[in-house]
């Protein structure tokens, strides 16, 4: 409400903001009234221009204020009449009377306002003129010096009135700023207390509406792509709020009372704010910043909760898998013992023996699956800790090949280890799991009669294991995903048995060792699975 600049009477010209208030009164809206009250509490009607007074007439509460204005002016005029009459009868000279007049005008300006003081000052001219018409020595018309004196008096009275009004204005302005600061502080405090379990937009809109007594608020959350509003909007603010965000148009329109802000986090726009009401541009900036901070807190909180939820889900899943796998073990053992026992009893017909063999075989498969599930569950639950020792690579590969010899019986396996004495700090058991998975995989998918090549290359900082086989090409899109749990390549899903767990175990094992896995695949060159394990041990576990 900067009114201080310019000449005295610039005050009389309605600045745009006051025009706005005037416009407001003409709105036949229930929302106009509380806003008017709010404004009039902050900015006393006494300092309002005539236009406002006129506007105030429209308001139900404006009546007493106009009456007060008239009463104050009337009291001032009565005081002037009394002094003038007293001066007339006492025969005082004009300067003495004027000093007395000043004693009336200055308190009027200080206590009541500029316009009351103006009316009282002008009344002095008329009243004094009236009383002195018949006194030649004091007659204004007779003695020009008297006119000048009176004119000087009016000017002095106006200057004093203006100055006191400005002092009052500044005081009120400061008070208003203080109020806005208090509101901002309140907003800050309340945003810190927001419930971050739900989206912050609606809460923020309500808070702004309540604390700043705004007519209407719209908050756009770009992340959730939703506009939240509070208060009364005559038009739907959604489009406007989104446009502010998309076009980055932050401005204040005094004519409509609309403040628009892009809500930015650093330089990144995260939403927008549109308010209609009586807030300064600076306040709007501060509000936008607070909204940005709240949005950010919400995201961080949501992210944290999501990670926590995921961790818990994973833990629960691992626990369930673990207990399931354990629960399966006993029935599986009983079935296998029974079926193989039946086979041992040796008086089965060939058909019966076949069926018993089938039961045995399928039980083994089920047992295999259970063990894999158990291993994955443990790996995922982080239960398996790395026991790194210096492991000889050649015996390691040999052990893997030997352990798979049933499956590799019909395959040609080529082992290519350039350095027989190569040792690697790793968890032997886990590395056996990884390599077994790779070799087993190669076994499953390789073309009949083609060789499987297990190769170890010692690079600078890592040892790279690779298992190559001539198996169908893995589509580019699948090469990353096949290492995810339960993912089975679309080209292979119907061809061989498998759980879709194994390669995820391989990946996990490599990760635990701070290594990584990848696969190359080519129609002619075949498929190679790689695992790179750092050649120097790291202390921390998975």
């Amino acid at each position: 409400m900067s009114l201080s600049a310019g000449p005295i009477f610039s005050f009389a010209f309605s600045p745009p903001q006051r025009m706005r208030h005037l416009l407001k009164f003409f709105q036949d809206s229930p929302h106009a009234r509380p806003v008017y009250e709010m404004v009039s509490n902050h900015f006393s009607l006494r300092s309002f221009p005539v236009g406002s007074v006129f506007g105030a007439l429209r308001s139900r509460d404006a009546g007493p204020r106009v009456l007060l204005f008239i009463l104050e002016s009337a009291l001032g005029i009565v005081a002037v009449i009394l002094v003038a009459a007293f001066a007339h009868w006492s025969g005082w000279l004009l300067p003495v009377a004027l000093l007395l007049y000043l004693l009336i005008v200055v308190p009027t300006a200080l206590l009541c306002g500029f316009w009351q003081a103006v009316i009282v000052s002008l009344s002095v001219v008329f009243v004094h003129g009236y009383f002195t018409t018949h006194r030649s020595q004091a007659n204004l018309a007779v003695d020009p010096a008297n006119s000048v004196t009176l004119l000087v008096f009016v000017l002095v009275a106006l200057v004093v009135s203006r100055l006191s009004a400005r002092v009052n204005d500044h005081a009120r302005e400061a008070e208003s700023w203080g109020g806005q600061m208090r509101d901002l502080y309140e907003l800050t405090r309340r945003t810190l207390e927001l419930n971050l379990h739900v989206e912050p937009g609606p809460q923020l809109a309500e808070l702004l509406h309540e604390i700043f007594a705004l007519e209407a608020v719209a908050v756009f959350d770009a992340d959730l792509h939703d506009v939240y509003q509070a208060g009364y909007w005559s038009v739907d603010p959604r489009e406007m709020a989104q446009n502010v965000y998309y076009f980055g148009s932050s401005d204040d329109d005094p004519a409509t009372g609309l403040g628009r802000r892009v809500v930015r986090l650093g330089s990144v726009p995260v939403g927008s704010l549109v308010v209609r009401g009586d807030t300064s541009p600076l306040t709007n900036n501060a509000i936008a910043s607070l909204i940005a901070i709240t949005f950010d807190r919400y995201r961080a909180f949501a992210n944290e909760s999501r990670i926590e939820t995921e961790r818990r889900t994973e833990q629960l899943r691992a626990t369930v898998l673990d207990s399931l796998a354990h629960a399966y073990k006993t029935p599986l053992t009983a079935i296998r013992a029974a079926s193989t026992g039946l086979g041992e009893m040796r008086h089965l017909s060939p058909g019966q023996a076949d069926l018993v063999a089938l039961i045995d075989e399928q039980t083994s498969l089920l047992g295999d699956l259970t063990t894999r599930l158990l291993t994955t569950a443990r790996l995922d639950a982080g239960e398996i800790k790395i026991h790194a020792t210096q492991v000889g690579v050649a015996p390691l590969i040999e052990e893997v090949v030997i352990s798979l010899k049933d499956r590799l019986a019909s395959m040609k396996v080529v082992i290519d280890i350039p350095d027989d004495g190569l040792v690697l700090p790793c968890d032997r058991q886990l590395m056996v799991m990884l390599l077994t998975q790779y070799v087993d995989n190669a076994c499953k998918y390789s073309i009949f009669g083609s060789p499987i090549t297990i190769r170890v290359v010692s690079a600078k900082a890592e040892v790279i294991f690779s298992v190559h086989s001539y198996s169908p090409m893995i589509p580019m899109a699948d090469r990353e995903r096949i290492f995810n749990r339960y993912y089975r390549s679309s080209t292979q899903s119907n061809r061989t048995s498998g759980t879709g767990i194994g390669l995820s175990v391989a990946k996990r094992v490599a990760q635990i060792h701070h290594g990584y896995v990848w696969v190359t695949s080519d129609e002619h060159e075949g498929t190679t699975f790689f695992a790179a394990i750092p050649a120097s041990a790291r202390k921390e576990s998975a």
């Binding site: 006993t330 599986l332 029974a338 894999r372 210096q390 000889g392 040999e398 052990e399 010899k405």
Partner: protein, 253 residues
């Protein structure tokens, strides 16, 4: 192979497993008694004579390992086979160290179990062999006194340590020798953790005694537990079909 009946005590808290084992064992001439807890097994064992015990590791109450320890305190030569599950390698090793004769991993095949029981029982019943008498398993022959090994009559050149390892394994053929025990026997107690060292030697040894080192038939690995030399009976009686019963994980992850 054994003329008189083998009396066996099956100790497992799961009745389904006991029920599944009883008929085939009885059919094959075993006399089967059952116990569902370690405490019960100890009572039964004190009350009557048995030729072998099948003992589950995971049981409520005092559990399999403690039961084993207590049985060994009064029956040091009774063959005891542990029933374990895959991810309990430490317990397997512990059981073997405590004097268990062997172990089978659930889910096991009854055929393999019976073969193991017979091997264990036979070992106890065969009169103790002199430390210095030659050992002949399959085509391999080891002469402890001369410290020579021959395969199909042809000499196999072994280093001192290789010979010691082979001797240790062959003299206990058919039984699992844990890494720690083998290391202690050959290198002394200070080296019982040096499994990688042992693996390197075993690798060399396989190259010398096996026809196909990648497909061993004599020197077998019990993954995570130790090594086992194939039982002489395997080559004498059976075909290659049960040559490597337990030592190969059929469901390596």
């Amino acid at each position: 192979m054994n003329q008189h009946v083998i009396r066996i005590l099956v100790v497992d808290d799961e009745s389904a497993i006991r029920r599944a084992l009883r008929p085939p064992l009885m059919e094959l001439g075993f006399q089967v008694m059952e116990a569902s807890r370690g405490e019960e097994a100890l009572q039964t064992l004190r009350a009557s004579q048995f030729d072998a015990v099948l003992l589950d590791v995971n049981m409520p109450g005092i559990g399999g390992i403690e039961t084993l320890r207590r049985i060994r305190s009064f029956a040091p030569r009774l063959p005891i086979l542990m029933l374990t599950v895959r991810d309990q390698e430490e317990e397997k090793v512990e059981a073997l160290e405590l004097g268990a004769d062997d172990y089978v991993t659930k889910p096991f095949s009854t055929r393999e179990l019976i073969a193991r029981i017979r091997t264990a029982v036979r070992r106890v019943r065969t009169p103790a062999r002199s430390e210095d008498s030659p050992i002949e398993i399959g085509e391999l022959r080891l002469e402890p006194v001369k410290r020579t090994v021959t395969k199909r009559g042809l000499p196999v050149h072994l280093t001192r340590k290789e010979f010691d390892i082979l001797h240790c394994l062959m003299s206990r053929a058919g039984r699992v020798i844990t890494y720690a025990r083998l290391l202690t026997a050959v290198w002394g107690a200070d080296c019982r953790e040096e499994v990688e060292y042992l693996r390197t030697f075993v690798r060399q040894l396989r190259k010398k005694i096996e026809d196909d080192p990648a497909n061993p038939v004599y020197l077998l690995t019990d993954v995570y537990v130790g090594y086992r030399f194939a039982d002489a009976q395997t080559f004498a009686e059976e075909e290659a079909e049960v040559a490597i019963p337990q030592s190969v994980p059929e469901d390596a992850p």
